[in-house]
C-alpha cells in the first residue's frame, strides 16, 4: 500500500477530532490540557505530511515552533491549574461558573 498524504491527513484529522472530543467531554482541568496537546499533535502531523509532500523544510520548522509553544503553554496552563486548585481544592472545570447569567 503506497503511502500518500491522504492517509496521514485523515489520521491527523481523526487525532484532532479526538482531541476536541476530549476537551468537550472531560471534566478535569489537566485532562482537558492533555486533550489540547492531542489536538496540537494532530496539527503537527498534518504539517509534516504536507512538508513531505512538497519536499520543503518549512513545514518542519513550523512543527519545531509548535512543539516549543506547546511546551510553554503546558507550563503556564499547569501553573494556572495549580493556582485554581489552591482556590477550590478541586480541578473540576464545572466549578468555575462565575460568568453564569
Amino acid at each position: 500500500m503506497p503511502l500518500g498524504p491522504e492517509k496521514f491527513l485523515i489520521l491527523s484529522a481523526v487525532i484532532f477530532a479526538l482531541g476536541v472530543l476530549g476537551v468537550l467531554l472531560r471534566r478535569g482541568a489537566i485532562s482537558i490540557l492533555m486533550s489540547i496537546e492531542l489536538m496540537l499533535n494532530g496539527a503537527n502531523l498534518a504539517f509534516i505530511a504536507f512538508a513531505r509532500q512538497f519536499g520543503q523544510a518549512e513545514g518542519q520548522i513550523y512543527v519545531f515552533f509548535i512543539i516549543t509553544l506547546a511546551a510553554a503553554e503546558a507550563a503556564v496552563g499547569l501553573a494556572i491549574v495549580i493556582a485554581l486548585f489552591r482556590l477550590g481544592d478541586s480541578t473540576d472545570v464545572d466549578e468555575l461558573s462565575l460568568l453564569k447569567w
Binding site: 503506497p2 481523526v14 472530543l21 467531554l25 478535569g28 520548522i61
Partner: protein, 167 residues
C-alpha cells in the same frame, strides 16, 4: 514494510488517543501515560515521513519533557478520580460528540474526494536532516527563533509567578 508500520502505528495512536479522551477512563495518570504512548506513535509517523529531526524532537521534548511536567503536576495535586460527566448538560453530552463526528466526516470526505490516494513524491537525501533544518531556522526563520526564545523566558516567569503560594 512501511505500510505495515503505518497500520500498526495508526492503530496504536488511535487506541491511546481514545484512552486519553473518553471519560470512561477516570484515572488521570492512566490518561497521561496513554498520551505519552500517543506522542511516541506520532513520532513514529514523523520517522515514516522522513522528518527525523522533528521525530526525535517530538520524543525528547513532547513525550519527554511535557509529559513529565504533566505527570509531576498530577502527582503534586493528588488529583482524584474524575467524576462522571453526568451533570454537564444535555447538549454537551450528545451534541459535542456529534459535532466532532461531523467535523471528521467533513474533512475525511473532502480529503478523499480531492486527493484520491495519491502518493508521496521521492524526497531528497537532505530532506529532514538536522543540517537542512538548521539552515532554514537560522536564516529564514531567524526572527521567529529569537522571538520564541523570548516567549519561553516569559512562559517560565509566568509559570513561576502563577504557581507561587504567596506573591
Amino acid at each position: 514494510m512501511e505500510s505495515i508500520a503505518f497500520i500498526v502505528l495508526s492503530i496504536l495512536a488511535l487506541a491511546s488517543a481514545l484512552v486519553v479522551v473518553l471519560p470512561v477512563v477516570r484515572n488521570a495518570v492512566v490518561c497521561a501515560l496513554a498520551l505519552a504512548v500517543n506522542l511516541i506513535c506520532v513520532a513514529g509517523f514523523f520517522f515514516l515521513l522522513q522528518a527525523q529531526f522533528i521525530g526525535f524532537l517530538q520524543i525528547i521534548v513532547y513525550a519527554g519533557a511535557i509529559m513529565v511536567l504533566i505527570l509531576f503536576v498530577l502527582m503534586l495535586l493528588n488529583v482524584h478520580d474524575e467524576r462522571h460527566l453526568g451533570s454537564s448538560g444535555f447538549f454537551q453530552r450528545y451534541l459535542g460528540p456529534l459535532l466532532a463526528v461531523g467535523f471528521v466526516a467533513l474533512l475525511v470526505t473532502s480529503l478523499v474526494a480531492s486527493l484520491q490516494g495519491a502518493e508521496f513524491p521521492r524526497a531528497g537525501a537532505a530532506y529532514g536532516t538536522v543540517a537542512t533544518l538548521g539552515q532554514e531556522l537560522f536564516t529564514r526563520f531567524f526572527y521567529p527563533f529569537e522571538a520564541i526564545s523570548l516567549l519561553l523566558v516569559v512562559a517560565m516567569i509566568g509559570a513561576v509567578l502563577l504557581a507561587k503560594r504567596r506573591l
